[in-house]
């Protein structure tokens, strides 16, 4: 244990050709393949209705798959559902809690449901970590929305899952709590927990994920290492600010990589960081040759958000 190279470890979550049609005939998952290694954080991005929640529900046993297989820690989620589900924690997208129940009893209940004997010390630790300890005897209905979401997280953590699904954990949560959540996720990762989270906040994926998956229309468009993805898809822009605004790009400079800013005070040149020759040197000498005077030069890197939007559009037009 521990000495094996990581590549020798089988994936902790293995989804093979998973399909799901709802009773109304709508096919929400159209053959999903996904492998996730132990201890990694995967952020699943995708537009509304892409199938993120359906994918998680099908893996966790809330919805039944039409075909395909899922294994968790090598256990089939249907044939060996006890072993598989015992490893999984789920924080659902919707806040589903019993309004009249006390925080502590609903969290204890979750642990019991997963067959684990009571462990007050652990529950206290979790509730403290989520700043819920002072609220432990409050009824759920007396909590704010953000607190309720944290109760859902506490319930999922109460039975010490090895794989944690977070379905939009930071939707409708304030900035501070979002940072707290990221910290909790980092802590869990340190303990070796594998995390799959869905989010619409791209900066969230950028901040905490190891790999990014993009799903649209029931299909996985890509799953890739975050850094590699950014590097591969990342375009850089060079903004050449001019001391005098111009109305159009001089004929000697015209190229499809170059455009003029709306106010005419800057030329914007986009280039690929991966390519051998960026063309910047040529551009700058051509600018000088055209008689334009430079005021300043700025570079910008496109964000994951741009990458994501590009991908989903590609997916749609495909």
């Amino acid at each position: 244990m521990g000495l094996e190279p990581e590549t020798a470890m089988p994936p902790i979550l293995n989804v093979t050709d998973l399909r799901k049609s709802y009773p109304d005939g709508f096919e929400a998952l159209k053959g999903i393949d996904l492998q996730i290694d132990a201890g990694e954080i995967l952020a699943l991005l995708g537009p509304n209705g892409a199938g993120k929640t359906t994918l998680i529900s099908t893996i966790c046993g809330i919805a039944t798959a039409t075909s395909g297989t899922v294994t968790v820690g090598g256990h089939d989620t249907i044939k060996d559902f006890r072993a598989a589900r015992a490893m999984i924690g789920l924080v659902p997208q919707e806040i589903n809690l019993e309004p009249f129940e006390k925080v502590i009893s609903t969290v204890n209940f979750s642990r019991g449901l997963f067959g684990k004997p009571a462990n007050p010390a652990l529950i206290e630790k979790i509730l403290r970590q989520l700043s819920l300890w002072d609220k432990r005897d409050s009824q759920i209905r007396a909590l704010s929305g953000g607190m309720k979401r944290r109760v859902l997280i506490a319930k999922a953590l109460s039975h010490e899952p090895r794989v944690l699904f977070l379905d939009e954990p930071t939707a409708g949560v304030d900035v501070e709590l979002r940072r707290d959540m990221w910290e909790i996720v980092a802590d869990l990762k340190r303990d070796g927990v594998t995390i799959i989270l869905t989010t619409h906040y791209i900066e969230e994926a950028e901040a905490i994920a190891d790999r990014i998956g993009v799903i649209a229309d029931g299909k996985i468009l890509l799953v890739e290492d975050k850094a590699k993805l950014m590097a591969r898809m990342g375009k850089k822009e060079l903004e050449v600010q001019l001391s005098q605004p111009i109305t159009e790009i001089p004929a000697s400079l015209v190229s499809d990589r170059l455009r003029l800013s709306d106010d005419g005070t800057a030329l914007i040149y986009s280039y690929d960081t991966q390519s051998e020759r960026t063309g910047i040197t040529t551009l700058l000498s051509d600018v000088a040759a055209a008689g334009l005077v430079l005021r300043d030069v700025v570079t910008r890197q496109s964000s994951l958000e741009d990458v994501f939007v590009d991908l989903v559009h590609e997916g749609e037009t495909r």
Partner: protein, 253 residues
């Protein structure tokens, strides 16, 4: 078998019950008392003895059955419908529990509540009338079996129901008439012959008759038939639940 989960569900459900203990306790005591005042004292004084016992004592077993049946159904149907309705059922479905364990937790709790109410009514009845229980073990056996089988039925209704209206529908349209026409307040032998025959198609008649036999030693139908009826009913509910379990009907999307 995930016993800890069964215990957790059971305790969770029972806590809900004890949280509203006063309501759970007062309403059966009050309604039983009213039944005794109205049927026992007011009407009963004009009715001669039924099968050798005073009318007020005669209605005790029927009253207990009436409450136990309605309580078992409403507790169990509400118990499983509520998490479906507010969405907390997701946790049950994603937990390493089998359907059998879910049923044991919910039905066990619902049956316990019904049994508790049944015993409270029995106690209340003692305050109003004198009676002896001739076959106490059979009495407890009938009571427990009835609690369990009607809680199973309630569980099925709770799984089936798509709205609160539907949740009320079956108990209101089917169970209440069957129970009232099942001889809670009269002996089948008091009916005109045609209605006696029709009554024999009402399963509740067999339950109440058997239960009354355990009190007074007299019955409308042979005791063996009563036992068969309750066993058959339990088996029917169990097989429906087994089928629900197999198909995930109305629970898993």
């Amino acid at each position: 078998m995930n016993w800890i989960a069964v215990k957790s569900i059971y305790i969770y459900e029972m806590t809900r019950f004890f949280r509203t203990l006063t309501q759970s306790f007062i309403s059966p005591v009050l309604s039983t008392s009213l039944y005794f005042v109205v049927f026992g004292a007011a009407i009963g004084s004009r009715i001669q003895e039924v099968e050798g016992v005073s009318y007020a004592s005669f209605i005790v077993p029927g009253l207990i059955m009436l409450s136990v049946i309605t309580q078992g159904i409403s507790n169990a149907s509400f118990g499983i419908y509520f998490p479906k309705f507010i969405g907390t059922i997701f946790e049950m479905l994603s937990a390493p529990v089998s359907f059998l364990e879910i049923v044991m937790g919910y039905v066990g709790a619902a049956a316990s509540k019904a049994l508790f109410i049944g015993l409270v009514i029995l106690g209340t009845a003692y305050l109003f009338v004198d009676f002896e229980i001739q076959h106490p073990f059979a009495m407890v056996g009938f009571l427990v079996l009835t609690c369990i089988s009607f809680s199973l039925m309630g569980f099925i209704i709770g799984i089936w129901a798509g709205s609160f209206e539907q949740l009320q529908l079956v108990p209101l349209l089917i169970i209440t008439p069957l129970v009232f026409l099942g001889g809670s307040f009269y002996s089948i032998s008091m009916l005109p012959p045609v209605w006696q025959i029709i009554s024999h198609f009402n399963p509740v008649v067999y339950l109440i008759s058997g239960f009354r036999w355990s009190f007074f030693g007299a019955a409308d139908v042979p005791i063996g038939l009563s036992l068969l009826a309750i066993a058959g009913f339990t088996a029917l509910c169990l097989s429906v639940i087994w089928w629900i379990f197999k198909t995930g009907w109305r629970i898993r999307q």
